[in-house]
Each structure stands twice: as C-alpha cells, then as structure tokens.
C-alpha cells in the first residue's frame, strides 16, 4: 500500500514534534498574545443570580468612567437572534433556548452575560464594570436535573414544560422489559455521573475587526473549529455571506470540547467592532471560565441490568436525566443521545437494550461535550453494570467480561442501537489478556487477601471499553436527523511547490494534539521526502479548505485520511509526469521512495523535487496535463471507527481516613494503526489523568440557589503531578478497515476508560465491607462515611 520503503516511512515512528520549539521558547502566539493596532478591550458583566428577571440596568456611571468607550446591554443587540443549537436530539422535538449576545430580560444561570464595557484597557474596563447597576428580581431555582422534572419545580422556559429540552429514546423498550422479567437476576442502581469543569489551561478569548466599506469581519477566537464558527455566525447570527467573515484560531491551549462551541462573546466582539469601528478584544478570566464556559457530564441514570445465573447479560435498561444547563450550548443535546445512548452496548453482546434520555434545563452553566463526550458516561454505566452483575452473582468481573465480549470473529458487529453503523474491527479479549498479564492478576488477588487480613483495603478495577471515533459518514448524520445543516467529512489540500517543498492545509484544528507533526508524517512518508519539507497550515478559514474541526478523536481518521488521499493523487500525477520526463511508457513507471522510475531500473529516476519543478514551470507537460502538483480531498468516511481496550486500576483505601491512593494504572488500548506512538501515548496519559480525576477528585457543585460552590482552582481539584503513579501504557494493534491508514482515533480513550476502572477498583476495595455502590468522586469524606456506616451495619451503602 505505502510506496515509501519500510526504512524510510515515518508512519509508526515517534517523530519529535515540529510544534515544540516555538512553544518551548514562548514564540508561539496564543489569542491572549494578539495585539491589534487601536485595539480596545471588552469585559462582560455576568449575572450573580442563577434565575432572575432583569428589571432595569443603569450604565451611566460606568459609561462616564475614564477610559471607557461604551457600555451596552442586551437591548442594544436585540436585532441579533439567539445563538444556534446546531446538534439537537434526533427524531424528536427539541424545545430550544439558547444564549443571546447579551441577555435582555431574564437569566437562567450565574455567569450569563448581561452587559459589556468597552474601554481603552482591561484595567479601566474592569473598574467600570463594577459601576453598572442592575436591578434583578430573583426567581426560584433548581439545579438538579431529576428534581427539575418533578411537579412543582421552578420552570425555566415557557416553551419547555417540566424543564424538558428533549425526550429521546433508543432501543426496544418492550423487548428489554420482557428480557428483564425473564432474567435470572436483575441488578438496579442509581448512578450519578457528576458535573465536571473542563479547565483547559488556556481560557477562552476572542478579538475582531470590521471594515465598514467592505462589510468584512475578521474574528479570532480560541476554537477547535474555526470553519464551524464562521458558518454559525454568518448563516445563523449575522445573516451575512460566509465570504464576509474570516475566522482565525491561533495556537489553542487545550480545549477538551469547550472550544468547539459558539459562545456569545465571539458574536459580541464582532458586533462591537462594527459598532465602535475599532478592533475589540475580549479575554476570559479563570473565574469566568468556571461559570460561563461549558461544563461536562452531569447525568443521573437509573440502570437495570438482567443476567443469567452464569453471568450472561440479557438486558440493559437506562433512564438518564442529562443536565443541559440554563440554556442549550451548540451541541449540548447531541452528546447524551447519539454519543451516549447509542454506545450503551459497550464491548458486549447485549441482546436487549433500551435507553431513555431526558435533556433537562436547570439553573446551572451549559453542559456540552467534554473530553469523551457521552462515551465516558456510557462506559461508566456499562462497566459499572458488569461489575454489579458480577458482584450479585459472586463471579469474577474478569470472567463476566469474557463471557459477554463480542468475539473477534463477529466483526463487523451491529449492536442494534447505532442506526446502521457497525463496530468495525476488534479483539477485545486480547487487550484484557495483556492488561491482566501486565498487572499480574492472580498474584494481586493473593496480595489483596493478605492485605485485608492486615486491615488494608486494596481494590482492582477493570474497564473494557469501546468507543466511537472518526465522525462521521455524512449520510448517516443526515439520516439520523441530527445534522441540522452540518456534515462530518474533512478536507485537506496539498501543494508541492516548485522546489519540492510541500504545504498542507486542513480543516482540522489541533489544541495540543500535534497535527502539524502527524499530518506531515503521513505526507512526507508517502512522498518520500524529509518531514522538514512539509509545512501544515491550519486555523484560518481564509486559505484552508472548509473542514469540521477537531473533536471526537476524528482528526487522524478523517483529516489524516483526507491528506493521505490527496497525496495518492499527487503521486499518481508525479508518476505520469515522471514517465514523460523519462520518455518512458506510463504503465512501465512507478513512483516509490520519492522517485519516479522505470520498473526495475530505480537508478535512472526523476525525484519528486525535479518533477515538482517541471510541473510548476510547465514548459513540457504531457498532453492535457495541468501545471502544478496540487490536490484537494473532501473525505467522507464510510463508517465511524471503534477503538477499544482494557484499563486496570489498583487502589488502596486508608481505613482510617477514607483516602484513596491510586497505586497502579495499566492501560492496553487498541486505536488501530498508529502514526506517531509518542503522541498517542501522550494523548492516553492525559486522558487517563482526566478520567481518574473524575473518579477521585473533581466535581462541579452548585448550591440550591444555583451558586457554583467550586468556582476556582482553589475549590475544584484539578490534579497535580504528585497525584499519580507512573502510568503503564501499552497497545495492541487491530487496524480498522474503514480507512486506508488503518487508524481509529486516540484522543479520548484514556478519559473514556479510566473513570470506570477507578470506580470499579474503589468498589472492589470496599466490597468486603458490604458496600455495593458509591457515587463519584470518591473523596475521603464520602468513603470514610460509607465505611463507618457499613461497619455500623447499614447506612447509605
């Protein structure tokens, strides 16, 4: 398949990143570093109330403050519609309420924007912000998604009775109920998958300029998908042609989902630039990031699982309350439906599945995709289900997994709830076997028993996950009725300049994943040139082909494949031109290792550099051939890809304090073929850290009045370096047959797998006390109380 010789290919090699030098020296430009001539600074006033009517706003004092250019409220932007909700739950009615540029008469969460001050500098803007006087009439609040659906709960939106944004289902309810009735055992549990605050290290920001003569906007923003930002802002907010706006993402300092979405401030800076005729910049503070940027997870799930006495799972039923916040974020409803409900078969053959998802408005920050996005929630439910069944039947959780795994000879496998998509390839047991081998399972069980005799609580937890990446076949997105004008293909353009140096542009948008390196590896390997000769350009809608951006671990499996396809066509043209230059018959010539030559005579060859020069000069081209080596691909994948693996966590719980220490962490992932193992390892490490953090430390907590009780890094436990043991990461390699690179996607596996692994380990450690389930995070206090109550014989466990 690949034409570069094995020795020359960079595919599968730990190539050092081309991004790093400029990041390590501080040269790389982030949004916060952007300075535009004449730039003024905008600061947003945010509601201190979670639910209130705005009766009056007095901006006079603020407007008179030295250095202030203007103060605006929601009424000044009444002509602009609310932001679009671009991915709604498919096949059902969605009762949509979204943020406005600034709220006009009502707020539904603390942090909602109600006014803006524009000043010569940030210090003056912040000073003036305190002088704005807003009269709020506080309303009753509800923050819990299940409580919000109950009779008598405060109602957030007129068009959403019971605070239901949508009521969506997947699977066969009657068959599932029937299978549950017939099951030898049924386990039931209420699982809380708590709210998380994503915390990319770079907070959000935006800047804009406007040219009145041409009506042209340029908007910079911290974004994972500048093309989508432009599409949403031009088509759905400003109502102008796409050509009247250019969107630019500079270096993006982590996103984890939060930078997929269109936020009100991005529209605001553009509108302000037009109103004031000056470049405008807005930059979030960390505190704003906590209340005004999207959160993740926040599910309450009632789970019922039926099984035979020997541990075969026959039915899985879930009813999930998905908290979506006070208004809907850009793709909020899509996450708990397509990416959660449709993934509830996990790695197992489960003949009967039904899931109902209620998307619920509450007086909290918007909830949308956070690393893994729906799949961590699904994996948590399924992997807890397996362990609950094992515990109920007194079976080893490893054996229950083996008994229910989809066997490797049953791929492609249709889980019945993916609306026509099938799991592509898999060998789930292999990852389990390898992980058990690394961890020394039998030996661990012996140690565990001995430790318990000494009063030490060791636990081991498993998570054998499967996830969905490589989004997505556009026809599937369209057919499911969830696209709402979007597709999911990806683009790449490759230009080989006269000197043989190559420029690649793509619509993907990294936030630390190293696309400039991995895409260059693909192109350089295929063309047989040094990686230094390939430059990857991204992040600017002017000059890159339309693309859908980077999220859901799609960039290699869709964007990388687009680049691969273009490079094949460039190689074919180079072969044909090479044949012409060699005065040989085209059929006799091949292109390999960066050269075109007559088969069997590689010593007489035309190099890609020579061919690129000939193509660019075009003095002597074959009949009908256009000048230049240039190709653009819009690649629409035929299927999604389904990475899998097994993660094992070992924990020790202090019987006195309830504190949980992570002793070992072993991950065996299978993400298909790997372009750069160093980068994939890094993705897995970071993902594991985030997933472990959900299990052990992190929780976004609101009080009953809708005040965030975890509003900064002081209260919200983003983990530190000394929270972790060394991470033991390995892989098996089962290529996908969906794309020619064989790659599946690796950006989220760690997060998807690890939360359940640690939760199962903690429950394993507590099992001797008779504790069957606790909700996350397993803080010392929660674990200590459970242990105390269990020892007393009863209580919450």
């Amino acid at each position: 398949m690949t034409t570069a010789t094995e020795a020359e290919t960079l595919l599968g090699k730990p190539v050092r990143r081309v991004e790093d030098a400029s990041l390590l020296t501080g040269e790389m430009q982030f949004l916060d570093d952007l300075k535009l001539p004449g730039m003024a600074f905008a600061v947003v006033l945010r509601s201190p109330y979670a639910h209130a009517r705005i009766s009056a706003i007095d901006t006079t004092k603020a407007a008179a403050y030295p250095g202030v250019l203007a103060v605006y409220t929601g009424k000044d932007f009444e002509d602009l519609p609310p932001l679009p909700c671009a991915w709604q739950a498919g096949g059902v009615e969605n009762f949509v309420n979204t943020p406005r540029v600034l709220e006009i008469d009502r707020v539904t969460f603390t942090g909602a924007g109600v006014a803006v001050v524009v000043a010569e500098n940030r210090y003056a803007a912040e000073d003036a912000l305190e002088l704005i006087d807003v009269d709020y009439e506080p309303l009753e609040t509800v923050v819990d998604a299940e409580a919000a659906t109950k009779e008598g709960a405060p109602q957030l939106h007129e068009n959403a009775p019971g605070n239901i944004a949508m009521d969506w289902s997947v699977g066969e309810q009657d068959a599932t109920d029937g299978a549950l009735r017939k099951a030898d055992v049924v386990v039931r549990e209420r699982l809380v998958n708590q709210r998380l605050i994503p915390n990319p290290m770079e907070v959000r920001g935006a800047a804009a300029t406007y040219e009145p003569t041409t009506g042209q906007y340029t908007v910079w923003m911290t974004s994972q998908d500048p093309h989508i930002m432009r599409l949403l802002m031009t088509a759905f907010v400003f109502g102008i042609p796409e050509t009247k706006m250019r969107c630019i993402a500079l270096q993006v300092g982590g996103g984890f989902g939060t930078k997929i979405f269109l936020y009100h401030e991005y529209v605001l800076v553009a509108a302000l630039a037009a109103k004031l005729g000056r470049p405008i910049k807005w930059g979030e503070t960390r505190r704003e990031n906590y209340v005004a940027t999207t959160h993740g997870r926040d599910h309450i799930t009632y789970l019922e699982v039926g099984a035979t006495r020997d541990g075969r799972i026959t039915a899985l039923k879930a009813k999930t309350y998905a908290n979506l916040g006070g208004v809907l974020s850009t793709i909020g409803p899509g996450i708990p439906t397509t990416l959660y409900g449709r993934m509830l078969s996990g790695a197992y053959r489960i003949p009967n599945i039904h899931c109902q998802v209620l998307g619920v408005y509450t007086n909290t920050a918007m909830v949308d995709a956070y690393r893994g996005a729906g799949r961590p929630e699904a994996t948590y439910a399924v992997e807890r289900a397996v362990d609950l069944v094992a515990a109920e039947l007194g079976l080893d959780p490893v054996d229950v997994r083996r008994k229910n795994f989809i066997p490797r000879d049953e791929f492609p496998y249709d889980p019945g709830i993916l609306r026509g998509l099938t799991y592509d390839t898999g060998d789930y047991e292999k990852t389990l076997d390898r992980a058990l081998e690394i961890v020394g399972y039998e030996d661990f069980r012996r140690q565990q028993k001995q430790a318990l005799e000494q009063g030490r609580h060791l636990g081991i937890g498993f998570s054998s996950y499967v996830e969905i990446c490589g989004a997505a076949p556009s026809a599937w997105i369209g057919a499911v009725g969830e696209g709402w004008g979007a597709s999911m293909w990806e683009s790449a353009n490759i230009r080989v300049h006269l000197t043989g140096k190559v420029a690649v542009t793509t619509g993907t948008q990294p936030q630390g994943q190293g696309h400039r390196t991995t895409i260059a590896q693909v192109v350089a390997s295929e063309l047989g040139i040094p990686i230094e000769d390939v430059t990857v350009h991204i992040g600017d809608t002017q000059g890159t082909p339309f693309g859908y951006g980077t999220y859901a671990s799609r960039s290699a499996a869709v964007g990388g494949v687009a680049a691969y396809k273009s490079v094949q066509r460039i190689k074919e043209k180079a072969r044909r031109l090479g044949a012409h230059m060699l005065e040989a018959d085209v059929d006799d010539v091949e292109f390999e290792g960066g050269k075109a030559f007559v088969k069997g005579s590689p010593e007489t060859a035309k190099t890609i550099q020579e061919i690129a020069g000939a193509a660019a000069l075009a003095y002597d081209l074959p009949e009908g051939m256009e000048p230049f080596l240039d190709d653009t691909t819009y690649y629409d994948p035929p299927n999604c890809t389904f990475p899998f693996g097994t993660h094992i966590a070992i924990v020790e719980i202090d019987g006195e304090t309830g504190e949980t220490a992570l002793r070992r962490y072993v991950a065996v992932d299978d993400v298909g073929k790997v372009i750069n193992p160093m980068i994939v390892d890094g993705q897995v490490h970071g993902g594991i850290a985030q997933g472990v953090a959900q299990a052990l430390w992190e929780a976004g907590v609101y009080d009953d009045e809708g005040q965030l009780q975890t509003p900064s890094l002081s209260e919200y436990a983003v983990p530190k370096a000394d929270f972790f043991p060394p991470l033991e990461v390995e892989r098996t390699e089962t290529p996908t047959d969906v794309n020619p690179l064989g790659v599946k996607g690796a950006g989220e596996t760690g997060t998807i797998a690890s939360t359940a692994a640690v939760a199962n380990a903690v429950m394993d450690a507590l099992a001797p006390l008779g504790i069957k389930h606790l909700d996350m995070p397993f803080t010392p206090e929660r674990v200590w109380r459970a242990m105390r109550d269990a020892k007393r014989g009863g209580g919450e466990a």
């Binding site: 730990p14 030098a21 020296t25 501080g26 960390r286 993902g687 850290a689 370096a721």
Partner: protein
Amino acid sequence: MSLTRISVTVNGTAHEREVESRMLLVDFIRDELALTGTNVACDTSLCGACTVHVDGRAVKSCTLLAAQADGYAITTIEGLSSNGTLHAVQEAFREKHGLQCGFCTPGMVMTAVELLEETPSPTDDEIRTALEGNLCRCTGYENIVRAVRHAAEVSR
C-alpha cells in the same frame, strides 16, 4: 491612579518604566515588554503558568506587583534559550514529549530549571513534588516527569 518608577533587568536587558502601582508583574512582562511567552491561566495564583525567575528563584509573576520587582533581575522563558539553542530542560521536554498544547509549558520549564539547579539528581517523587504548583491538563504529568528526569540525566 498612582504611578511608580521601576528599573528591572529582564533577560539581561535593563528597563526603566513608569507603571501603575497596581500593575501585576506578569502584565508588565506581557504588555509593557511584549514578552508573551509567559502565560496567564488563572486568577488565583494556583496554576503556575506565569512562572518566571526573579533573581534566580522561580516565582509566579501574577503574585508580584511590577513595583515589587524594582531592582531585580528577571528571566522569562524567552531568556532561557540562546541564539536558537534550547536550554537542556527545553530540549528534554521536546525529546520526551513533555508538552502538548504548550500553554503551561513556559511556567513548567521555569520551575523545572529551578529544581534542577537546586537538586541536580532528583527522584521522581522530588520531581512531582517540585511541580506541584504548576498545573497541566494535557499530559497527565507522565512525560513531564520523564522530561525533567531526562534533563537531569543529560546534564550530569
């Protein structure tokens, strides 16, 4: 607004400036001197992204006022490499993939440089403890620890 006159040396260059008394050192470095390699990632002095060296000591530059830096010598990430040659710690971060998005990286590197100056052969536990004031959301710290260990090894 009261102004204060300060003289500081940053990356070997002496600067005299009048600054607002309330201006943070990090804003002085970023906005007045246009050295934007030092990043700001929180408002509570908890993340460490803005770490610079003040007279050789790693300091979160959001915890000092510019006025307090009067008379001191400051080194930022821009001052660590010379003529395009990376410092051993920077080189080690690249070699061991100790950075992903790169936003925490300048602060992380400045803290690591101080650690290795004080403790040339740290244990992994010592590395993790030393980096406790610097948050990273991308790497799970695994490769950062390896990078610091590697820097220590090659510097020996």
